[in-house]
Amino acid sequence: METTFEKNSFKSEEYFINMGPQHPATHGVLRLLLTIDGEIIKNVEPDLGYIHRSIEKMCERDSYQQIVHLTDRMDYLSAHINNEAVCLAVENALGLEVPERVKVIRTIIAELTRLASHQLWWGVMGMDVGALTTYFYGFRDREMINDIFEETCGARLTMNYNIPGGLMFDIHPNFVQRTKDFVAHFKTKLPEYDTLLTGNVIFQKRTKGVGILTKEDAISFGTSGPVARASGYSCDVRKLHPYSAYDRVNFNEALFTEGDTFARYRVRIQEMWESLAIIEQLIDNIPEGDYKTATNAVIKLPKGEFYQKVETARGELGVFIVSDGKKNPYRLKFRSPGFSNLSALKKMAVGSKLGDLVAMMATLDIVVPDIDR
């Protein structure tokens, strides 16, 4: 009796899963189309555009002061740094020299923003791999930064504190003391984070060797920020193209070579320590002076193309302004770090398991409004 089947006809079936757009692990409205075979991922395709607000088109009809307000809404966790990017682009194009006081304050607030973003990232990372308590611990410390911002800038999330030419108002008298208290407090809490998550053997087994991105791939995919630094590519914009007060502070760049999820995790923890060091160096010596230089009420950039890079908590944000001399830019392009980091996801994820995908997304640390603009 001949066999009615052949070995080759037994193919394990690939099935298709949608992760999102509403999903607790995708950090925003991102839809991932996954093709899975059993537990192994065969293909990942992101579907973007759920929070696309046509910011680039709106910038073509807005004045430069109005554009600054739009940038907060892109990567809302590094809101201040986004504002700083546009303000620096405009100031460099106009040849405007801002007072020293402004530069130092901008740097301090940028580092506080970076700390707040990394604290939220840490809390959410723990929650994604299953340690549900870390969320509360991360937010408890972040509240202190939010309170400092509320007192000085007037808002907790979308700060709108930078304007082309300087700052919107001077810092509150309590700012220096509260920041110093926060730094002292957080220095005791950051080792707690290490004890809770970094040293935990279950966490290490979930993240070591998972989602490896080699240095060549990191460069080819245009990644930046902690994702690229964990693969060994040294790309810190604060060191390569210093802006504001970064040329007068000493700090180390967090570089690791393994390129796996655990390395990306450690890069961000290391960055938190470095941010604390930067704030400590600057907070006691804020120079006196004006908090802004006067600009025209209607800002017109000269004809030309201007590019400004800054280092947000996610990576390298680029602002490319093409101006034809009018009061609106002719074309404004935001080079968003999350967009390039997300393009590396497919390379990292194919061949690993579904549980690993969640850990990888957590360490890519994307904010979807930054990608969709």
Partner: protein, 354 residues
């Protein structure tokens, strides 16, 4: 002084006086069943409240504290909400199996509850294979999970059910073997005899090294068997929906939910009986007051339940292949070695006796 408070004996005698023997037997069994159902519900309420308060304590917040004094009526409010929800179900689901699945879990939990000794008198069924019965019953719960996932006619529920069944079946081995380690020390499968043998010292002290190892393996495997974190990949909200109970809502979902908490209670109870002396007071201080055994039993069980909740809110989740590696490559060989070690210690008389 001895206060004879043998409530159960009094009720038993009264019943047999009032009615004829067969009817009285049936009525007595029905009363026991009703008492256990009541206990099931109350324990469920208490455990859910405890979980929320303890989770809040770990997460630096307060937990429910408005509904009733200190929030003790919160779970009743939740139960009322669940009862009033619409029982949705898919049209394509296999209706008979879909409705049957939760009952497997409840029946398994109730049967396991019935052999637990709450005190010397309040021991409903003291069968001579007590421990063996407990191990056997806990295997029945798996059927409920698998049927629930299969009959939902939902791809992701099925995956969740398969994963969960796989996990439960694997870790039952470790639970069974660590229980057997203590049976070697006690010399009997009957629960009351195991507890009586602990009058001279709890087994975790009597059987020093192998008993401590057995206890650790038992806690790990017990947490895994009830699908609690850090082994709750099945219900991981970050991943595939809600696992095998995705398609259940309202009261059906409440059954699965309660069954998980009662299973946790049962594992903790088995742990107390085998390792910590059951209803015996430490150093025998209150042996003369009957029925205080209930208090000691509940304190010990709730202590172990607190330990299991502590695990949940602290550790990240294991991936499914790491879970299986843990069981088959690490826990099982350690367990087998441990049984041999315990046998050697008992044979050479090296147990610590007071």
């Amino acid at each position: 002084m001895n206060i004879p408070l043998s409530i159960t004996k009094n009720i038993h005698d009264w019943l047999f006086e009032v009615m004829s023997a067969p009817v009285a037997t049936v009525v007595e069994k029905v009363l026991i069943a009703v008492a256990f159902l009541g206990f099931f519900a109350l324990a469920g309420l208490l455990l859910v409240y405890m979980e929320r308060r303890i989770a809040a304590f770990f997460q630096l917040r307060l937990g429910p504290n408005r509904v009733g004094p200190q929030g003790i009526f919160q779970t009743i409010a939740d139960a009322l909400k669940l009862v009033s929800k619409e029982l949705t179900g898919t049209v394509k689901a296999d209706q008979f199996l879909y409705k049957l699945a939760p009952y497997f879990l409840i029946v398994a939990s109730l049967m396991a509850l019935s052999v637990l000794p709450f005190s010397k008198e309040l021991h409903a069924f003291d069968i001579n294979i007590g421990v063996f019965f407990l191990i056997a019953i806990s295997s029945i719960g798996v059927i409920g999970i698998l049927i629930g996932g299969w009959s939902s006619n939902n791809k992701y529920a099925l995956i969740g059910a398969m994963r969960s069944g796989l996990q439960t079946v694997s870790y039952e081995l470790s639970v069974g073997l660590s229980i057997l380690t203590i049976v070697v020390l006690a010399g009997s499968l009957q629960i009351s005899e195991i507890i009586e043998a602990q009058r001279n010292g709890w087994f975790i002290i009597q059987g020093h090294i192998p008993a401590v190892i057995a206890f650790m393996i038992f806690m790990i495997a017990g947490t895994a068997e009830t699908n609690r974190a850090p082994f709750d990949l099945v219900e991981a909200e970050s991943e595939l929906g809600a696992g095998f109970h995705t398609e259940y809502s309202g009261m059906n979902f409440a059954y699965f939910f309660l069954a998980e908490f009662i299973n946790m209670f049962i594992i903790a109870a088995i742990g107390t009986i085998l390792f910590f002396g059951g209803y015996l007071s430490p150093f025998g201080i209150t042996e003369s007051i009957p029925l205080l055994g209930v208090f000691w039993f509940m304190i010990k069980v709730l202590g172990l339940v607190f330990l299991m909740m502590w695990f949940r809110w602290t550790f990240p989740r294991l991936r499914v292949d790491q879970l299986l590696t843990l069981e088959w490559k690490y826990l099982l060989p350690i367990n087998l070695f441990n049984i041999v070690l315990m046998a050697i210690i008992v044979w050479l008389g090296l147990t610590i006796n007071f």
